[in-house]
Subunit: 168 residues, 2 copies
Protein backbone atom coordinates (compact mmCIF):
# COMPACT_ATOMS: atom_id res chain seq x y z
CA UNK A 1 0.00 0.00 0.00
CA UNK A 2 2.84 2.42 0.84
CA UNK A 3 4.17 1.77 -2.66
CA UNK A 4 0.92 2.78 -4.42
CA UNK A 5 0.74 5.87 -2.25
CA UNK A 6 4.24 7.07 -3.08
CA UNK A 7 6.40 6.09 -6.10
CA UNK A 8 3.75 5.81 -8.86
CA UNK A 9 1.58 8.59 -7.42
CA UNK A 10 4.54 10.98 -7.04
CA UNK A 11 5.59 10.17 -10.61
CA UNK A 12 2.06 10.93 -11.80
CA UNK A 13 1.96 14.26 -9.95
CA UNK A 14 5.36 15.27 -11.36
CA UNK A 15 4.04 14.45 -14.81
CA UNK A 16 1.03 16.68 -14.01
CA UNK A 17 3.49 19.39 -12.91
CA UNK A 18 5.16 19.10 -16.31
CA UNK A 19 1.82 19.69 -17.99
CA UNK A 20 1.14 22.70 -15.76
CA UNK A 21 4.49 24.14 -16.86
CA UNK A 22 3.61 23.52 -20.51
CA UNK A 23 0.42 25.51 -19.99
CA UNK A 24 2.61 28.23 -18.49
CA UNK A 25 4.66 28.26 -21.71
CA UNK A 26 1.47 28.55 -23.79
CA UNK A 27 0.32 31.48 -21.66
CA UNK A 28 3.69 33.24 -21.90
CA UNK A 29 3.78 32.73 -25.68
CA UNK A 30 0.22 34.01 -26.09
CA UNK A 31 0.88 37.06 -23.90
CA UNK A 32 4.33 37.59 -25.46
CA UNK A 33 6.50 37.46 -22.34
CA UNK A 34 9.44 35.24 -21.43
CA UNK A 35 8.50 32.06 -19.52
CA UNK A 36 11.41 32.96 -17.18
CA UNK A 37 9.11 35.58 -15.66
CA UNK A 38 6.87 32.75 -14.43
CA UNK A 39 9.85 30.68 -13.25
CA UNK A 40 11.05 33.59 -11.13
CA UNK A 41 7.61 34.47 -9.73
CA UNK A 42 6.63 33.86 -6.13
CA UNK A 43 3.50 34.36 -3.98
CA UNK A 44 5.22 36.34 -1.23
CA UNK A 45 8.56 38.19 -1.13
CA UNK A 46 9.93 35.79 1.49
CA UNK A 47 8.62 32.60 -0.13
CA UNK A 48 10.50 30.55 -2.74
CA UNK A 49 9.97 31.21 -6.44
CA UNK A 50 8.65 28.67 -8.95
CA UNK A 51 12.14 27.33 -9.80
CA UNK A 52 12.78 26.55 -6.13
CA UNK A 53 9.29 25.06 -5.66
CA UNK A 54 10.01 22.63 -8.50
CA UNK A 55 13.44 21.80 -7.07
CA UNK A 56 11.92 21.11 -3.65
CA UNK A 57 8.97 19.10 -5.03
CA UNK A 58 11.39 16.83 -6.92
CA UNK A 59 13.75 16.64 -3.91
CA UNK A 60 10.89 15.78 -1.57
CA UNK A 61 9.89 12.87 -3.80
CA UNK A 62 13.36 11.51 -4.53
CA UNK A 63 14.90 12.00 -1.05
CA UNK A 64 11.74 10.72 0.65
CA UNK A 65 11.82 7.53 -1.39
CA UNK A 66 15.55 7.19 -0.81
CA UNK A 67 15.10 7.53 2.97
CA UNK A 68 12.28 4.97 3.00
CA UNK A 69 14.19 2.39 0.96
CA UNK A 70 17.93 3.14 1.04
CA UNK A 71 17.92 3.29 -2.75
CA UNK A 72 20.27 6.02 -3.94
CA UNK A 73 18.54 9.03 -5.53
CA UNK A 74 19.78 11.01 -8.54
CA UNK A 75 21.80 14.08 -7.52
CA UNK A 76 21.00 17.62 -8.61
CA UNK A 77 23.06 20.76 -8.08
CA UNK A 78 20.06 23.09 -7.71
CA UNK A 79 21.44 25.32 -10.44
CA UNK A 80 18.55 25.02 -12.90
CA UNK A 81 17.63 28.35 -14.46
CA UNK A 82 15.67 27.43 -17.57
CA UNK A 83 12.48 25.50 -18.17
CA UNK A 84 14.43 22.87 -20.14
CA UNK A 85 16.75 22.30 -17.17
CA UNK A 86 13.81 22.01 -14.78
CA UNK A 87 12.02 19.57 -17.10
CA UNK A 88 15.20 17.47 -17.28
CA UNK A 89 15.26 17.33 -13.47
CA UNK A 90 11.57 16.40 -13.31
CA UNK A 91 12.15 13.71 -15.93
CA UNK A 92 15.12 12.24 -14.03
CA UNK A 93 13.11 12.02 -10.82
CA UNK A 94 10.16 10.40 -12.63
CA UNK A 95 12.59 7.81 -14.06
CA UNK A 96 13.96 7.19 -10.54
CA UNK A 97 10.40 6.80 -9.16
CA UNK A 98 9.54 4.33 -11.93
CA UNK A 99 12.49 2.17 -10.85
CA UNK A 100 10.71 1.18 -7.60
CA UNK A 101 8.64 -1.92 -7.00
CA UNK A 102 6.47 -2.92 -4.04
CA UNK A 103 9.33 -5.08 -2.72
CA UNK A 104 11.55 -2.01 -2.25
CA UNK A 105 9.08 -0.74 0.34
CA UNK A 106 8.38 -3.96 2.22
CA UNK A 107 10.28 -2.89 5.38
CA UNK A 108 9.71 0.85 4.98
CA UNK A 109 6.81 1.41 7.39
CA UNK A 110 8.85 0.52 10.49
CA UNK A 111 12.21 1.84 9.28
CA UNK A 112 13.83 4.58 11.40
CA UNK A 113 13.96 7.68 9.22
CA UNK A 114 16.32 10.50 10.12
CA UNK A 115 16.92 13.85 8.46
CA UNK A 116 19.89 16.23 8.52
CA UNK A 117 17.72 18.86 10.25
CA UNK A 118 16.26 16.57 12.93
CA UNK A 119 19.17 16.68 15.33
CA UNK A 120 19.61 12.90 15.61
CA UNK A 121 15.91 12.21 16.19
CA UNK A 122 13.89 9.91 13.94
CA UNK A 123 10.39 9.02 12.76
CA UNK A 124 9.09 5.59 11.88
CA UNK A 125 8.73 5.16 8.11
CA UNK A 126 4.94 5.29 8.20
CA UNK A 127 4.94 8.45 10.34
CA UNK A 128 7.49 10.03 8.03
CA UNK A 129 5.49 9.13 4.91
CA UNK A 130 2.06 10.19 6.23
CA UNK A 131 2.94 13.26 8.31
CA UNK A 132 6.00 14.68 6.54
CA UNK A 133 6.71 13.37 3.05
CA UNK A 134 3.17 13.36 1.59
CA UNK A 135 2.02 16.71 3.08
CA UNK A 136 5.30 18.32 1.94
CA UNK A 137 5.17 16.86 -1.55
CA UNK A 138 1.62 18.09 -2.21
CA UNK A 139 2.48 21.43 -0.61
CA UNK A 140 5.16 22.17 -3.21
CA UNK A 141 3.16 20.86 -6.19
CA UNK A 142 0.20 23.00 -5.10
CA UNK A 143 2.39 26.05 -4.52
CA UNK A 144 3.88 25.66 -8.01
CA UNK A 145 0.29 25.42 -9.32
CA UNK A 146 -0.71 28.54 -7.35
CA UNK A 147 2.20 30.61 -8.68
CA UNK A 148 1.12 29.78 -12.24
CA UNK A 149 -2.59 30.34 -11.49
CA UNK A 150 -1.86 33.63 -9.73
CA UNK A 151 -0.08 34.79 -12.89
CA UNK A 152 -3.03 34.06 -15.14
CA UNK A 153 -2.14 30.62 -16.50
CA UNK A 154 -5.31 28.77 -17.52
CA UNK A 155 -5.09 25.68 -15.29
CA UNK A 156 -7.62 23.92 -13.10
CA UNK A 157 -8.04 21.08 -10.63
CA UNK A 158 -8.08 18.47 -13.40
CA UNK A 159 -4.59 19.51 -14.52
CA UNK A 160 -3.40 19.14 -10.93
CA UNK A 161 -5.01 15.73 -10.29
CA UNK A 162 -4.31 14.22 -13.71
CA UNK A 163 -6.11 11.18 -15.09
CA UNK A 164 -8.06 8.97 -12.70
CA UNK A 165 -8.60 5.23 -13.28
CA UNK A 166 -12.42 5.42 -13.45
CA UNK A 167 -14.29 2.17 -13.95
CA UNK A 168 -17.82 1.44 -15.21
Amino acid sequence: MLYNLTAPQFAKMLQNLNRLLEKGVEHATHKKFEVDVLLNSRLAPDQFNLIRQIQIATDTAKLGMSRLTGKEAPKHEDNEKTLAELQKRIHEVITYLHSFSEMDLKDATTKHISHPRWDGKYLLGEEFAFQHLIPNFYFHITTAYSILRHNGVDIGKKDYLGELPYKK
Copy 2:
Protein backbone atom coordinates in the same frame (compact mmCIF):
# COMPACT_ATOMS: atom_id res chain seq x y z
CA MET B 1 -2.77 1.91 7.35
CA LEU B 2 -5.51 3.76 5.42
CA TYR B 3 -6.84 4.88 8.81
CA ASN B 4 -3.53 6.48 9.91
CA LEU B 5 -3.25 8.16 6.55
CA THR B 6 -6.69 9.75 6.67
CA ALA B 7 -8.86 10.39 9.77
CA PRO B 8 -6.19 11.36 12.35
CA GLN B 9 -3.94 13.03 9.78
CA PHE B 10 -6.79 15.07 8.30
CA ALA B 11 -7.84 16.08 11.83
CA LYS B 12 -4.27 17.18 12.55
CA MET B 13 -4.06 19.23 9.34
CA LEU B 14 -7.41 20.91 10.08
CA GLN B 15 -6.08 21.78 13.53
CA ASN B 16 -3.01 23.25 11.81
CA LEU B 17 -5.36 25.21 9.52
CA ASN B 18 -7.02 26.61 12.63
CA ARG B 19 -3.63 27.81 13.87
CA LEU B 20 -2.86 29.37 10.48
CA LEU B 21 -6.14 31.30 10.75
CA GLU B 22 -5.26 32.44 14.27
CA LYS B 23 -1.99 33.81 12.90
CA GLY B 24 -4.09 35.59 10.27
CA VAL B 25 -6.10 37.21 13.08
CA GLU B 26 -2.88 38.34 14.80
CA HIS B 27 -1.63 39.86 11.56
CA ALA B 28 -4.93 41.66 10.90
CA THR B 29 -5.02 43.00 14.47
CA HIS B 30 -1.42 44.17 14.27
CA LYS B 31 -1.97 45.87 10.90
CA LYS B 32 -5.37 47.19 12.01
CA PHE B 33 -7.55 45.69 9.28
CA GLU B 34 -10.60 43.41 9.49
CA VAL B 35 -9.81 39.68 9.30
CA ASP B 36 -12.72 39.48 6.81
CA VAL B 37 -10.33 40.97 4.25
CA LEU B 38 -8.21 37.82 4.51
CA LEU B 39 -11.28 35.56 4.43
CA ASN B 40 -12.39 37.16 1.17
CA SER B 41 -8.94 37.13 -0.44
CA ARG B 42 -8.01 34.87 -3.33
CA LEU B 43 -4.88 34.17 -5.41
CA ALA B 44 -6.55 34.68 -8.79
CA PRO B 45 -9.81 36.39 -9.78
CA ASP B 46 -11.30 33.10 -10.98
CA GLN B 47 -10.10 30.99 -8.03
CA PHE B 48 -12.04 30.49 -4.78
CA ASN B 49 -11.45 32.81 -1.83
CA LEU B 50 -10.20 31.70 1.60
CA ILE B 51 -13.73 31.07 2.94
CA ARG B 52 -14.45 28.66 0.07
CA GLN B 53 -11.01 27.00 0.39
CA ILE B 54 -11.80 26.23 4.05
CA GLN B 55 -15.27 24.96 3.13
CA ILE B 56 -13.81 22.67 0.46
CA ALA B 57 -10.93 21.44 2.66
CA THR B 58 -13.41 20.42 5.37
CA ASP B 59 -15.81 18.94 2.79
CA THR B 60 -13.01 16.97 1.15
CA ALA B 61 -12.11 15.41 4.51
CA LYS B 62 -15.61 14.68 5.76
CA LEU B 63 -17.16 13.53 2.46
CA GLY B 64 -14.07 11.49 1.59
CA MET B 65 -14.25 9.64 4.90
CA SER B 66 -18.00 9.22 4.51
CA ARG B 67 -17.58 7.72 1.02
CA LEU B 68 -14.86 5.34 2.22
CA THR B 69 -16.85 4.11 5.22
CA GLY B 70 -20.55 4.87 4.75
CA LYS B 71 -20.51 6.79 8.04
CA GLU B 72 -22.72 9.86 7.78
CA ALA B 73 -20.85 13.18 7.75
CA PRO B 74 -22.00 16.40 9.46
CA LYS B 75 -23.91 18.69 7.11
CA HIS B 76 -22.96 22.30 6.39
CA GLU B 77 -24.92 24.89 4.44
CA ASP B 78 -21.84 26.66 3.01
CA ASN B 79 -23.11 29.96 4.37
CA GLU B 80 -20.19 30.76 6.70
CA LYS B 81 -19.14 34.39 6.52
CA THR B 82 -17.16 34.96 9.72
CA LEU B 83 -14.05 33.42 11.18
CA ALA B 84 -16.08 32.10 14.14
CA GLU B 85 -18.47 30.30 11.78
CA LEU B 86 -15.55 28.79 9.84
CA GLN B 87 -13.85 27.67 13.04
CA LYS B 88 -17.09 26.04 14.17
CA ARG B 89 -17.20 24.12 10.87
CA ILE B 90 -13.55 23.06 11.20
CA HIS B 91 -14.19 21.96 14.77
CA GLU B 92 -17.25 19.88 13.77
CA VAL B 93 -15.29 18.10 11.06
CA ILE B 94 -12.39 17.41 13.45
CA THR B 95 -14.90 15.90 15.91
CA TYR B 96 -16.31 13.75 13.10
CA LEU B 97 -12.80 12.62 12.09
CA HIS B 98 -12.00 11.72 15.70
CA SER B 99 -15.06 9.42 15.74
CA PHE B 100 -13.32 6.95 13.38
CA SER B 101 -11.40 3.85 14.33
CA GLU B 102 -9.29 1.48 12.23
CA MET B 103 -12.26 -0.92 12.07
CA ASP B 104 -14.34 1.65 10.17
CA LEU B 105 -11.86 1.44 7.29
CA LYS B 106 -11.30 -2.31 7.18
CA ASP B 107 -13.18 -2.79 3.86
CA ALA B 108 -12.48 0.66 2.46
CA THR B 109 -9.58 -0.10 0.09
CA THR B 110 -11.68 -2.26 -2.24
CA LYS B 111 -14.97 -0.40 -1.84
CA HIS B 112 -16.50 1.07 -5.01
CA ILE B 113 -16.49 4.84 -4.55
CA SER B 114 -18.75 6.99 -6.69
CA HIS B 115 -19.20 10.74 -6.81
CA PRO B 116 -22.07 12.93 -8.03
CA ARG B 117 -19.79 14.35 -10.76
CA TRP B 118 -18.48 11.01 -12.02
CA ASP B 119 -21.40 10.10 -14.23
CA GLY B 120 -21.98 6.66 -12.71
CA LYS B 121 -18.33 5.62 -12.85
CA TYR B 122 -16.38 4.57 -9.76
CA LEU B 123 -12.91 4.23 -8.27
CA LEU B 124 -11.73 1.57 -5.85
CA GLY B 125 -11.35 2.95 -2.33
CA GLU B 126 -7.57 2.88 -2.44
CA GLU B 127 -7.46 4.64 -5.82
CA PHE B 128 -9.93 7.23 -4.55
CA ALA B 129 -7.93 7.83 -1.36
CA PHE B 130 -4.48 8.00 -3.00
CA GLN B 131 -5.27 9.77 -6.28
CA HIS B 132 -8.24 11.97 -5.43
CA LEU B 133 -8.96 12.49 -1.73
CA ILE B 134 -5.42 13.04 -0.41
CA PRO B 135 -4.15 15.23 -3.29
CA ASN B 136 -7.36 17.31 -3.09
CA PHE B 137 -7.25 17.67 0.68
CA TYR B 138 -3.64 18.93 0.71
CA PHE B 139 -4.40 21.15 -2.27
CA HIS B 140 -7.02 23.13 -0.36
CA ILE B 141 -5.05 23.31 2.90
CA THR B 142 -2.01 24.56 0.96
CA THR B 143 -4.09 27.06 -1.02
CA ALA B 144 -5.55 28.43 2.25
CA TYR B 145 -1.96 28.70 3.53
CA SER B 146 -0.85 30.48 0.33
CA ILE B 147 -3.68 33.03 0.51
CA LEU B 148 -2.59 33.95 4.05
CA ARG B 149 1.11 33.96 3.15
CA HIS B 150 0.50 36.04 0.05
CA ASN B 151 -1.20 38.62 2.27
CA GLY B 152 1.75 38.93 4.62
CA VAL B 153 0.73 36.57 7.44
CA ASP B 154 3.83 35.30 9.24
CA ILE B 155 3.48 31.54 8.74
CA GLY B 156 5.93 28.86 7.68
CA LYS B 157 6.21 25.19 6.83
CA LYS B 158 6.17 24.19 10.50
CA ASP B 159 2.73 25.77 10.96
CA TYR B 160 1.50 23.78 7.96
CA LEU B 161 2.97 20.42 9.03
CA GLY B 162 2.26 20.74 12.76
CA GLU B 163 3.96 18.65 15.41
CA LEU B 164 5.78 15.49 14.38
CA PRO B 165 6.18 12.44 16.66
CA TYR B 166 10.00 12.55 16.76
CA LYS B 167 11.75 9.83 18.76
CA LYS B 168 15.27 9.69 20.23
